[in-house]
Symmetry: D2
Subunit: 357 residues, 4 copies
């Protein structure tokens, strides 16, 4: 249960960053959906580090192998198994981190929890695992588009500099998935400077789900917004999340309440969710990423024996998580949207009668 996500549309991942690869098993995919392998590869590319200088230049080719669940190009209703082999598995040199815990990583907590020290990179806690999430998200999108549901994302803040425009088309082709074209140069400069200074920066991602039917979300404990929040904060490096207008807690009711008209809501401060159920308006989510924990400056830590040490990391890492993270957040959003769509199909007698008659 620990490594699975979702109620009906449910995926499970396995594999570690420096093991053989990352696997994902997707259960609950409705039968009869066209499987678009090209699209899956495309989505994995978006997540992949090394695609430009703003992301880790390690070569991860991320070629998914479809192991099951598809027949003659369509989903069969049986679980879809997908395997993404790790490249460059050649025995690397971990001698510098073998016995020490990197600050702000999971090294220490994994060791204390499991009593095992897998010193090879982040093991299971590595961002490598998010390839599994993006895979599950890509398959979810193949289903969602059958219903006209669309999900997009981009970066809205970097290093404390907040964007004003929200242009998803621009973000799609931006090297840093920038939502605000005007701020893109400044954001790139912030990232470049962090890299030069062997440091890293945090950022904020915006995810929007469009055309979601009214009525999705299962109150009280499987609400659309509650599940989305859990999904987002479960992503590596995410520390916070907000649904709708991120100033809501500073507003008055008279400012925040979305007035209702016969043609819809006048505003969307609610972010498309009321009482845990979709309103039919855009679902809007902000996701807050901490700066990359791997920085290339001396840091204080301890070794496995508990002695104080200075850590000096080597190698290369994205100086920002939020850029690649936006693709992961988008994927998790797609997974949640589909799961809610499926669950909601069981919630009314008249809906069920449309199927069974």
């Amino acid at each position: 249960m620990f490594n699975s996500f979702g109620a009906i549309y449910r995926f499970t991942t396995f594999g570690e960053s420096h093991g053989a690869g990352i696997g994902v098993v997707i259960d609950g995919v409705p039968a009869g959906v066209e499987f678009d392998e090209e699209f899956l590869i495309e989505e994995l590319k978006r997540r992949r580090p090394g695609r430009n200088r703003f992301a880790t230049p390690r070569k991860e080719s991320d070629t998914p192998e479809i192991l099951s669940g598809i027949f003659e190009g369509k989903t069969t209703g049986t679980p879809i198994g997908i395997w993404i082999p790790n490249r460059n598995q050649r025995s690397r040199d971990y001698s510098n981190i073998k016995d020490i815990f990197r600050p702000a990583h999971g090294d220490l907590t994994y060791f204390r929890k499991y009593g095992v020290r897998d010193y090879r990179g982040g093991g299971r806690s590595s961002a490598r695992e998010t390839a599994g999430r993006v895979t599950a998200g890509a398959v979810a999108k193949m289903v969602l588009r059958e219903f006209g549901i669309k999900i997009r994302s981009g970066v809205i803040e970097i290093g404390g500099v907040r964007g004003k425009k929200v242009d998803f088309d621009h973000a799609r082709q931006s090297p840093i998935f920038a939502l605000d074209p005007d701020l893109e140069p400044q954001w790139i400069e912030i990232i470049d400077r962090a890299r030069e200074e062997h440091d890293s920066v945090g950022g904020v991602v915006k995810v929007v789900i469009e055309n979601l039917p009214v009525g999705l979300g299962e109150p009280i404990y499987y609400k659309l917004d509650g599940v989305l929040a859990g999904a987002m904060v479960g992503i590596n490096g995410v520390k916070g999340v907000y649904i709708g207008n991120p100033d809501a807690h500073r507003l008055k009711g008279s400012q925040n309440n979305d007035q209702i008209t016969p043609t819809g809501f006048e505003t969307n401060n609610s972010g498309g969710v009321l009482a845990g159920i979709s309103t039919g308006e855009k679902v809007e989510i902000e996701v807050y990423f901490k700066p990359t924990p791997s920085i290339f400056r001396p840091q204080k830590s301890i070794d496995t024996a508990g002695n104080p040490v200075m850590v000096e990391l080597k190698g290369r890492h994205d100086p920002i998580i939020a850029v690649r993270g936006s693709v992961v957040a988008e994927a998790m959003g797609a997974v949640v949207a589909l799961d809610m769509l499926l669950l909601n199909a069981t919630r009314r007698l008249d809906s069920l009668k449309k199927i069974y008659q």
Copy 2:
């Protein structure tokens, strides 16, 4: 599944705001725990509206009836059923809202989802349901204190005015659960003004879990922080959540990384969670509440036939959710902490050998 929360320590609630009462069934409580009914009543009182002028003055006496699961003052390991009857169930006059949807409430989304119009107050989406959460949280605390784990909360921001001090002892006895004694008068004024203006205000709650053992949280999809985030955003009126330093996304890695020393972490920007697992430091959570949707000004809406109407609510409501909400957030934090404690007991061979031998 929709109305249950938790994996091992799992509670289920039922009942509506204007029905007979609120029920909660708590499963997975370890056997042999002393049941402290006084404490439960105390906790329910803290949540109760009407305790002072900052909360709805409706009389909810919230006297819990213990229906099962306790024998000779101790938990037996069987489910604990608790029933909290609603008072004042006398047929109220709903004629003014019977056919209209209140803005920023769940009226519209519930109707669209279920095709049913239960016009009596908020029905299932009412804050009344949170009595069930507080009950489950109180029982969780009875177990947690056996392990020295403590959980506290308070309000850290109201109407955009942020507190600087964090004094949980003060909050405990403050009429508005204010964490900053210096700002308490100003915050009270903000609330009073909102009430006078028939308006409402948002706020921010801080929850802290102390003395949580290292190693709690189940990566990758049942992480401590992910589950906490889902639990918090699932609370009525909550739109956002943050684990640890809420500025993390604006910081550099060199600022945000908590340096490790033989005696612990030098700082706690992580909020006590790394890679989804507790570090042994305080778990710190911020919870963002929107302003109360019920305001007493004319608002635009539609009726059940889709015609435009002006809504004029009557009655009385807290002009702020965050105050009472802090007790609910604290309860959800306790539930998550206990659930993680139980799950973690199964995760190591050496732990299991301590039990079975």
Copy 3:
């Protein structure tokens, strides 16, 4: 989780035999179903002991109180809470069993598991709890009949004497739910003799689900037959279960394979399930009940200190579980059928398109 059953249509029970009552919370009921309270009371009556001399003559009036989830006579989609108070809770005299474990009961295993000795009757393991199951089954039937699905049961074997006829109409009005009218007198005699001899007898129940749509059941680990089997053997006193022709394991393939014709299957040895999925034929289940463990003869046991004792039970108990048990088995079958109906609504793209368009 321990006290809940079902995936989407999911019920939770609480309460002990000599506590305040038995509660049941039913989640996942589709909105818009007419709630038939008379029918619920009728179903509870069928299960009730004391209805005739073949069942415990204790007076359990089993009047259900509907606490939530119904509005204006219809289900709202929110959880239905139902409470059935125990009568005769007056402090009984348990002195004769307070410190001893009754053979073939759960007394010993509950004590060893939980370290708690609730000596008042069976506590949670009592057949009293099955009132909760029958309640959940009755509500399931209210939904199933909207789809023309019917579920019936009766007793097909008592004390090793097997019936030849299967007449559900007769069973419905028979004092021992006898499926074979010809054997009814003999079966009654067997039961009466067991009672006179202070002994008890076992029996076999047959449950049939008619008109179940083709395609229900979720392979591989939530198959229709696997879930039915788990549901049945989880009932108090049930030791075995069989789906379809209970001689299948003695047959040859050429005898057991149901030949397929354009109008259906020529035989139904499969019991309406192939590969875990309903075939559209009748689902046929046999359920094997052990004899009532409470007999009124001296038996060897131990006390809580581990000393050997002779147990002499007092009071009255059904000398057969299978009779009342048939109503419980029927209820569990209804719950499983509905849960599968709901799950299956999510499994095909074309089904979903009928709902969302």
Copy 4:
């Protein structure tokens, strides 16, 4: 959820009989357990068809590839992914069954459920999938033996001829896993005759779990016996299950009740389970397998267009499922035993205190 089994120790399988292979992901394995790959291979060999003339002589080498979850020979607490490639995937000739439904197989029900016709062998419903179950069972046994728990199985009845002796040591090395050495020649003759006659036979398997601690099993809806029953009937070809003495329903209470003495139970009619909780005695289970549905005689069926056809299967199949099935049943028993062991670790305050202090 459909393709996963277990609550804490939870495995998920994927893959079809004529696809690339069978995968299994095992979650919830405690950290620190020695991983015994030799043992896993050994277990898979026991299940493998083609090991002798009593099983399908197809060559399935069943070499498991360990993809994750193991580091330096021990479990790490992260999910263990295992992949078993299918051999002989070369495009076979399915022309004779491409458009027809084989009687007593899942062909028809899968098609009706999913609207998809994967005509290549049994697809997901094939016995090939049970390699995943045996894998999960083998890993469970690696943990169980740390606690001295042992699980064994064998065949106790073939073609209606019931064995009298129960010799697990003999069964282990018997070509047909025969529990009764005296009957082995007769049973072999029955199987051989069925093969010659292009027919098949049913059988009964006995599974015994030894040394299981008292107290395992979670009443009311996750009982040890209920979950075991569901696990067994979910296996391909299983139609029934019995816990304990399979004559219990024919006995009187005075015969069936196991008398309790200071040193244990005098008999074990209960099969080691009372009220859903292990008693400490041997857990004894009987599993009833139907005859192999694939027989090589003309059978009536329909094609995908609904027209009547005569089916003539080609190829080779075990004339009995129960032989290989015993290994699968044993594996499922191991999985359930471990899951219950883990769950029970969370059920008492004093147990938890042994871990957290």
